[in-house]
Symmetry: C2
Subunit: 94 residues, 2 copies
DNA sequence: ATAATATTTAGATATTTATCTAAATAAGGG
DNA sequence: CCCTTATTTAGATAAATATCTAAATATTAT
């Protein structure tokens, strides 16, 4: 609980696009990087922010690191929006 | 469409709390400000960001300015999260 | 072992952001 | 008319952020 890092993570367009990419299937850091015109180091930085926010999970597979969406946290954020819509799904969160 | 400003607006905890306050009922800028320990000028700044993002609507009433939630944009953002969940509600947005 | 590949970490920099105080704008009340 | 109240705008500043290049780490292949 405490959505600060998650909302911050979602505030960058590259990070949101990464999430949409991962919607289809898990990808390695390198595969993700090919979709953008910034350096690999920058993508790595974005991935670490997404990971920190709980929005993605990573798994080391030999030389590669594969990233995938973490739906659990996506659902928690959805819950926050529903409180806004008048439901009192989980009144405690920020 | 283009959610950049909306997601940016949601990335600040004070602004999210303002939205939750407005969930109950519309409030004036001053009433909103009493809930926080920052200056009125700062709250005014946050309100202008929320307005710019489409998340709130304002209406001048004499000496006061009343702010209220704009559910339309809240719903648009919800749509973005649903695309993540595998639906293809509105594939075009970022 | 050495080289090549995949990814992250470190350090630097320019931009953005949240905040403050002080000044400006606007509306009402005596 | 002035004075008070409500709110925003302007200008300044400190902190956060996105990005880069270069270096470090780790794994696989020759």
């Amino acid at each position: 609980m405490g959505f600060q890092r998650t909302f911050k993570a979602l505030s960058d367009p590259i990070r949101r696009e990464i999430l949409q990419l991962l919607r289809i299937s898990p990808l390695t850091a390198g595969e993700i990087a090919t979709h953008f015109s910034v350096s690999n180091a920058t993508i790595s930085h974005h991935l670490s922010i997404l990971k920190d926010a709980g929005l993605v999970l990573d798994e080391k597979q030999g030389k590669y690191i594969t990233y995938e969406l973490n739906m659990t946290v996506v659902d928690e954020i959805l819950g926050w929006f529903y409180t806004l819509k008048g439901g009192d799904f989980n009144e405690k969160n920020n």
